[in-house]
């Protein structure tokens, strides 16, 4: 089996003005594995996720998707050059992203949201896209809502539609940016259940989350970020059971109460 990781992040850095948010982060995400990123607010988790698909342009470092460099190319003189937007867009298709605020397009039906990118970006015809869309909605258990508008759905349902929308692009990996943080506790469970199913199906996932239960039970690896660096990293049993870093221990003791 090809051992190229689905996502490889090498020495990733990001500054906003004088504020250095990411100070050189490196990690691999193997195919079919789930990596959870935990850490306090402001530790750089969301920025890291957004740098992977270039919603934020990294200030330094590299991201590889299936071995292919994302966003930058090194030219003959060894200089790093930002790729044209069209090239970045081509690679973004392979990374599904789910946001904290769902970000469904309110003027389209649920199915419309799901099939928009497959049709307009992948060039699929409507019939094929609709069949795929129905399939993705079934995976998030929302087949019966296909013709509704997002405004008529609960937060949990909206987030599941957002997951279906990302799945419809048949991405190589899924990025989740605090997908349950703006949901009431009773709606959080339905979204986490869908995410666990995806993890069980072998979907490659990076999940930025405050849900310690999910990070512990559903991930293959956990990264604890602090001040723009990976402070602790390992299988969940180790990070949750015997963290080496004092800060990680403090963070977990606060969040596991």
């Amino acid at each position: 089996m090809d051992a190229t990781p689905a996502i490889r992040v090498v020495d990733l850095r990001k500054s906003f003005g004088t504020l250095e948010v990411l100070k050189g982060v490196s990690f691999d995400v193997d195919r079919g594995s789930v990596v959870s990123m935990i850490g306090a607010s402001g530790s750089g988790k969301s920025t890291l996720l957004r740098c992977i698909n270039f919603l934020e342009t990294p200030s330094g470092g590299e991201v590889y998707i299936d071995g292919e460099p994302m966003g930058f190319r090194t030219d003959a003189t060894g200089q790093r050059r930002l790729q044209p937007l069209s090239e970045i867009n081509r690679m973004r298709r392979d990374l599904g992203m789910v946001f904290q605020q769902f970000n469904l397009w309110p003027h389209m039906t649920v199915l419309g949201n799901v099939i928009e990118a497959p049709m307009r970006v992948r060039g699929m015809n409507r019939k094929r896209a609709a069949a795929l869309g129905e399939e993705c909605l079934a995976r998030v258990h929302l087949s019966e809502k296909a013709r509704e508008y997002p405004a008529r759905l609960s937060g949990g349902q909206q987030q599941r539609v957002a997951i279906a929308r990302a799945l419809a692009m048949q991405p190589k990996a899924m990025l989740f940016d605090e997908p349950t943080s703006s949901l009431d506790p009773e709606l959080t469970d339905e979204v986490l259940a869908v995410m666990r199913e995806l993890a069980g199906d072998g979907t490659t996932m990076i999940v930025v989350t405050h849900e310690m239960g999910f990070a512990r039970d559903a991930s293959d690896r956990v990264l604890f970020l602090h001040n723009g660096l990976i402070e602790e990293e390992g299988p969940p049993e180790q990070v949750f059971g015997a963290p080496r870093s004092e800060r990680c221990r403090q963070f977990l003791s606060k969040h596991l109460q």
Partner: protein, 233 residues
Amino acid sequence: MSDALRQSLDLSLFWEYRQVLLSGLLFNVYVFACSAVTALLVGLAAALLRVNRSWPFRWIGTVHVELFRNAPDYIMVVWVHFVLPLLLGAIIGRRLEFHPFVSAVIALGFVYSGYFAETFRAGIQAIPIGHVEAARACGMGERLILWRIILPQVVRRMLPEAVNQLVSLFKATTIVSLIAVPDLMYNVSMVTATEMRPLPLYTGAALTYFAVIWLAATGVRLLSERWRSKIYA
């Protein structure tokens, strides 16, 4: 009842000249439609300049909006018809003349583009950035995002305000008679000159304008409310 009042309420004269007057009204609709399309297209372009990331573009957009929003339509119609051809003629070095209809459409189209630009801009800025980021994350390009994600939402948001502006634009078409566009007001003046009975003719014209504008605006509002309510439930 005074004689003057009785005269103004006797619309038989208006009815007698209905064909001439109706053809005038059709001219109003024609001028309205062409200037509305101009105003919407130019207004959208100006709004896109106004929200551009680089300041020279924003500056051009702002100048456009301020210039045309603060120019009285009456003066613009006259200026575009009589002065603009002289200016352009001097630049290209030959005599230039605009058809009154063309002058009317340019003048009203540009004046109202200033208002529409601001309505478009407000609509664009009201779209949460997350909607755009979600589209980018799916690999959609910026033009696709504008046409599929931003503008359909902007149109729905701006409709109530846009209907008000379109009503104002329709009313403003009555001033094109100034430069001899044969619209309803122009034809009323012509008939008045021969019949010497201005009261019923002007009353009839006022009632006609009211009826046409009220019916069209109410219809559009009803239809658009139903359409908008689906997404803002």
